[in-house]
Assembly symmetry: C2
Homo-oligomer: 200 residues x 2
């Protein structure tokens, strides 16, 4: 990562990216914590941030919620590991996605904006107003990345792992333009709500 000029290493680094068929074991979790702790030291010395993606139950059996992620980070004993949260996964797992973002606070190191069906933003059930309010509340200033899937452009093995059986879109550019406008609008709205609330 350092050698190709990258500054962040993220994703499901702590387990396989798969639908597990067994419960997580204590031994497996300890191995994972130890591996991430060692990797964090190397990453720190290389100037690369390490962020662990918390994903839904069908893509790992280890870290499905922010609370589990924070406990895992504490177990590594490292100050160089943060969480990568994603609204698609939070929509399945978190009792309250906005509260989960506030719980993560400064331990939130990377953020994925994705719709509940992984298609166009707004074409699903996610309450993005609450999400952006929470990001402003914690003073989040790291990356916000839009993620969406279509078999038309995504690598086949990743599409199969993510269970993309139907394409909600095929053209990347209109999708990306819409996502940028959507995110800019939602950030503006959240900032205005914040300013309105602050008025005496």
């Amino acid at each position: 990562m350092r050698d190709i000029g990258g500054s962040k290493l993220g994703g499901i680094l702590y387990s396989a990216h798969t639908k597990y068929g067994t419960m997580p074991s204590d031994r497996g979790r300890r191995n994972s914590v130890a591996a991430i702790a060692r990797t964090a030291e190397v990453a720190k010395s290389a100037g690369v941030d390490l962020v662990l993606e918390v994903v839904n139950r069908f893509e790992t059996n280890l870290l499905n919620t922010t609370a589990q992620g924070l406990e895992f980070i504490a177990a590594t004993g490292s100050d160089h590991v943060r969480l990568h949260l994603d609204t698609f996964h939070m929509n399945i797992e978190e009792a309250n996605p906005a509260a989960a973002i506030r719980l993560a606070g400064d331990k939130l190191g990377y953020f994925h904006i994705g719709e509940s069906n992984r298609g166009y933003l707004g074409d699903g059930v996610i309450d993005f107003a609450g999400i952006f309010d929470a990001l402003l509340d914690i003073g989040y200033e790291r990356d916000v990345t839009f993620e969406s899937f279509s078999g038309a452009v995504v690598d086949e093995s990743l599409s199969l792992a993510c269970a993309i059986w139907r394409d909600t879109w095929t053209e990347s550019l209109p999708l990306a333009r819409h996502a940028k406008a959507f995110i800019d609008l939602k950030v503006d709205e959240a900032a205005r709500r914040r300013a309105t609330n602050a008025r005496p």
Copy 2:
């Protein structure tokens, strides 16, 4: 089903209940349509309703949305096949769950109420007000069943298939009491909204 005194046969009858690793094939879909069409004739003569559960992408690759389910039913050519919808799955797949219920209309034959994390109702993100408004709008009078999972009481193989790695509850009775009160309350609220709107 007839011989044990049952009146409805439902679930993922049209494919395996699994995280598929391949795209659905045209041949597989045709086989499935033909098998359900034959089963529907037998079910009809036995006085048993046949309802197909539409589930999320990680539990089948064939019927993930109401629209797909309705198309599948049309392909069977049978008037004896209906859909079984479930709010947990709809929260992942439907662009608009309430609109999907209205789209199903009289083809909705069975309904599962489940929270987004499969735990206590209210302990997640699902907009149940919109769900119950839609059920009243289509005049739905068939079964409404609460579904929730915990490794403490659910069969192990089903828990693993459904990826239940953490238990959000362990005692069935308080869970069921809460669900009954929650559903009664939401139905009352929806009925009152409907009456309020109808006032001239």
